[in-house]
Subunit: 346 residues, 2 copies
């Protein structure tokens, strides 16, 4: 089969590798239909995060179950499924608590033998990991395409909104207009029903999409005094803030616009945050929540919302490429020509 291999910074190649095989009785083999490139893939692509050359890449995919081990009960060959970006056993303390990212048997995709940007994937703990798509999603091309966002960015944006304690009718600030920030806007406005959704970014096209996703107020992060302007609008800050960038400026802004007693959830891997602004967090009695999203927990709900048309995250996938052109996809995202790349696999 074809799979994407990391060879070094800015060097991603599709190569032919052996097909994956069942190893454990709890495994499934999934034939991938759609995959995606994630903003977090850019960390190793740019050489900022360490990643072993020769590793498979990709942690977002949907597809059709091809084979299952003897112990798998909830999916069967032919089922259309979504995989979260972490495999989880579904039975440990953390899985039962809805924190599948801390599963005692958890594993991320992307090692020497397994990655989501490929024609097939071996999925460990298939019962605890995979969630079936209903026919109305699997057989609707638009929704099937959109479903790949539920693997990560849509679930991550939603987790940020939940972690920020956002409530129906409330106010939230979302810092960042990347795919995760945009999905957070969508979650807040459409899934949770937050009344005032304030989006902050600096890319006009993306901010226009934020508006389409339900943002009620838009601020340009490059304009000076944006924090004061938001605090004026909200009369002292928002009770809920999502930080969806992962750099120092965005973290500082997120804390600045948080209302005393409020919550700031940061959903990006904090690669470029040297110092959390602890003093205002202390003085304002904020909760800073680290927020590696347990996407698996949200999948049933978000799949239902996708099926019902309550959320439509498809527009964040603004560049479609065949799997063979995955390198072009990384480059397009690296150069910010695309928000997020959908890979058409089969």
């Amino acid at each position: 089969m074809k799979a994407t291999i990391y060879h070094g910074p800015h060097d991603i190649r599709v190569e032919t590798v052996p097909d994956p095989e069942l190893r454990e009785p709890t495994d499934a083999i999934v034939r991938v239909t759609r995959a995606a490139v994630c903003g977090s893939d850019l960390w190793f692509y740019r050489g900022i995060a360490k990643f072993t050359p020769g590793s498979r890449t990709g942690h977002e995919f949907v597809g059709i179950v091809e084979a299952v081990g003897n112990d798998v009960r909830t999916v069967k060959p032919g089922d259309a499924v979504i995989a979260p970006f972490v495999a989880s056993d579904g039975t440990c303390e953390y899985c039962l608590a809805g924190l599948q990212t801390s599963c005692v048997h958890g594993s991320f995709w992307g090692d020497e033998q397994n990655g989501g940007q490929a024609e097939a994937v071996r999925v460990p703990y298939a019962d605890g990991t995979l969630v079936r798509m209903p026919d109305a999603v699997a057989h609707d091309r638009r929704k099937h395409d959109a479903a790949v966002t539920l693997s990560d960015v849509m679930g991550t944006g939603h987790h940020g909104v939940i972690g920020a304690g956002a409530k129906r009718g409330g106010t939230i600030v979302i810092v960042g207009d990347g795919a995760v920030g945009l999905c957070a806007v969508l979650s807040a406005a459409k899934e949770i029903g937050v009344e005032r959704v304030i989006a902050v970014g600096h890319n006009e096209r993306r901010l226009a999409l934020a508006r389409n996703f339900g943002a009620t107020d838009i601020f340009n992060s490059h304009e000076p005094g944006v924090g004061e302007a938001i605090n004026q609008l909200t009369r002292g800050g928002a009770p809920s803030v999502v930080e969806a960038v992962g750099n120092q400026e965005s973290m500082d802004l997120a804390v600045e616009v948080a209302r005393p007693g409020g919550s700031v959830s940061f959903v990006g891997v904090p690669h470029n945050v040297k110092q959390a602004p602890l003093r205002p967090i202390f003085l304002k009695n904020l909760a800073l929540r680290g927020a590696l999203a347990p996407v698996r927990e949200y999948l049933p709900r978000l799949i239902a919302s996708l099926e019902a048309g309550r959320i439509d995250p498809l527009p964040v996938l603004d560049l479609n490429l065949p799997i063979e052109r995955v390198a072009d996809g990384y480059a397009a995202m690296d150069e910010r020509r695309a928000i997020k790349v959908l890979l058409e696999v089969s």
Copy 2:
């Protein structure tokens, strides 16, 4: 009257100053009976935090109301009262939400004309700030002495425990054996009823006091591998952690011993924390809560507990001095000869 004046690092003097007078109809004048020296006073004493020479010092005191303005309704001359370390109006959005430290009219003690380490204090917003002591506390010397801890350290320790989400029957780790850490142990064990209270410090005498306050397990923070040992004991960390020191090592340890999905509240002013450990906070889905304690909110409950004998924080006040010897008190705390100094004023 006598009042304590800051002249510069390591230079604290008691001097004679004019008696305070009512300025606003919401003011009260309180004749101080007991005051205290706080660990946070050491920041300016050591020259680490900026503080204007000539300022009055002290933010912990109890006393007897001497005079009230025309608009004061809830206290009257002769009442024994406790003052929190922040004055608050009692009517704004934040006060009503129990976050009096963010009161829109809030003010800290310690300026050119007002400080708690003195014979009398002008208290703004007396109705929103002061809480009466019942006779059983006011007229019991031991409890009257102990009441001064409710101005700050006992309320701060309790806030840390609440902020860490501790529950009856649960598990908590408290990092720090200073007065606040010890009060957090007392709150967890006696006020909340946490079953496993793990105290971490490095002073044997203080750790023995932690044991008396109800700590079930004691760890020495200077021993290598203390984080791993706690994680072994708790089989993966505690859901609730209080960081009551305010330096990098204690913050790192607090995050290390927090269970995935748990909460770490930091109750010390983070003067010496250069970098919050954001990566484990992210990966473990922790909430890091800044925790400037709204002591005023907890006073009615903690006064009742003091009266009932449920909590007895008096042992943290291990050095009693007359107000005239306040400088000796600062020195004793600076040199760690005393946990916390009680000043006998009148």
